[in-house]
């Protein structure tokens, strides 16, 4: 089942509502981790959802999903690249009260072109991107498990320096 995650800190109505509408139209099942909702937040009508998952359950859902839909968070992006998982990201916008700053827009701009990643800037981009994502299939992992060797060497030297 396609897995939707917007993290556990803040709701993300624009993405959740767009995905829910697509589920209503296509009947494709989606499971969402959509954080704690206030009464005024959008409550999905067509998809199964929980506010948050324990990390182990999150990993299980992520692994089992044919594709993942998410806010433009680095944890999710790294997770998709290390697994070759097709990923659709929508960056949160500060002007819409979705995040305190626009760092996710920068993240989407810089990582949106990586293999297997698609970006939906607006709600109307979500349905066509989900259609394409469903057809895309998984890719070979394009990212290994560790940071760049130069960074690891620099950090190690600093950590092991004299007090």
């Amino acid at each position: 089942m396609i897995f939707l995650t917007v993290g556990t800190q803040l709701p993300f109505d624009r993405l959740v509502a767009a995905v829910d509408a697509w589920v209503g139209q296509t009947g494709t099942p989606v499971f969402g981790q959509i954080s704690d909702l206030a009464p005024e937040n959008y409550h999905p009508k067509h998809m199964e959802w929980v506010p948050r998952l324990a990390p182990e359950e999150f990993e299980r859902r992520y692994e089992a999903a044919p594709a993942v839909v998410a806010h433009a968070g680095m944890g999710t992006i790294i997770g998709a690249l290390t697994r070759g998982k097709p990923l659709l990201i929508m960056p949160r916008q500060a002007a819409l009260g979705e995040q305190r700053n626009d760092h996710q827009i920068a993240t989407a701009a810089r990582f949106g072109a990586r293999p297997g990643i698609r970006v939906a800037a607006e709600a109307e981009d979500v349905a066509p991107a989900l259609d394409a994502l469903a057809d895309q299939g998984s890719a070979p992992p394009s990212l290994g498990p560790h940071a760049e060797p130069d960074l690891i060497a620099a950090v190690r030297a600093a950590l092991l320096g004299p007090r």
């Binding site: 993290g7 556990t8 800190q9 324990a54 990390p55 182990e56 968070g73 680095m74 944890g75 999710t76 790294i78 997770g79 690249l81 626009d102 760092h103 996710q104 920068a106 993240t107 701009a109 810089r110 990212l143 498990p145 560790h146 940071a147 760049e148 060797p149 130069d150 960074l151 690891i152 060497a153 620099a154 950090v155 190690r156 600093a158 950590l159 092991l160 320096g161 004299p162 007090r163």
Partner: protein
Amino acid sequence: MDAASETGDGPGVHWMSETSKSPTVPAHRVMAIASGGGHWVELRRMAPAWQGCQIHYVTTEPGYRKELRAEPEARFHVIPDANRWQKLRLLRQLLGIVWLILRLRPHAVISTGAAPGYFALRLGRLIGARTVWVDSIANAEELSLSGQMARRHADLWLTQWPHLSGEDGPSYRGAVM
């Protein structure tokens, strides 16, 4: 007095064997601290940097303990979660970190963010620990607020974006991906 300080000049690097070339510095205590989510994922990708050390992971999400099952030598500590507007929770988080720093007396502290990392670097400095800040790769246009605040307390102060580095720091030495 602990084993490292008894030697007078900090821990030496020992080679476990000629074949594996895996360095081990078991007396060197490293605290690797990050809040849950992307900060934690980025921190974990740097694990080879503290291979062979006595590693203490500190985070806000208790469920990450299970990730470390394959690393029985790693220690795992949980602190309260908080965002910058939850002052009481931030205070509880700070107290949790004070307690861990005093109890573990790390030789080095490393963080990718956010608030817990800033607290730990400041407190680590006070007890003479080496401190490393690696600002999250999510901050591609400007350094994070916690990263800017960590500047004065970091022996190594890094961004993961070359265009954000400068003469007066932060430095760029590569990225977690």
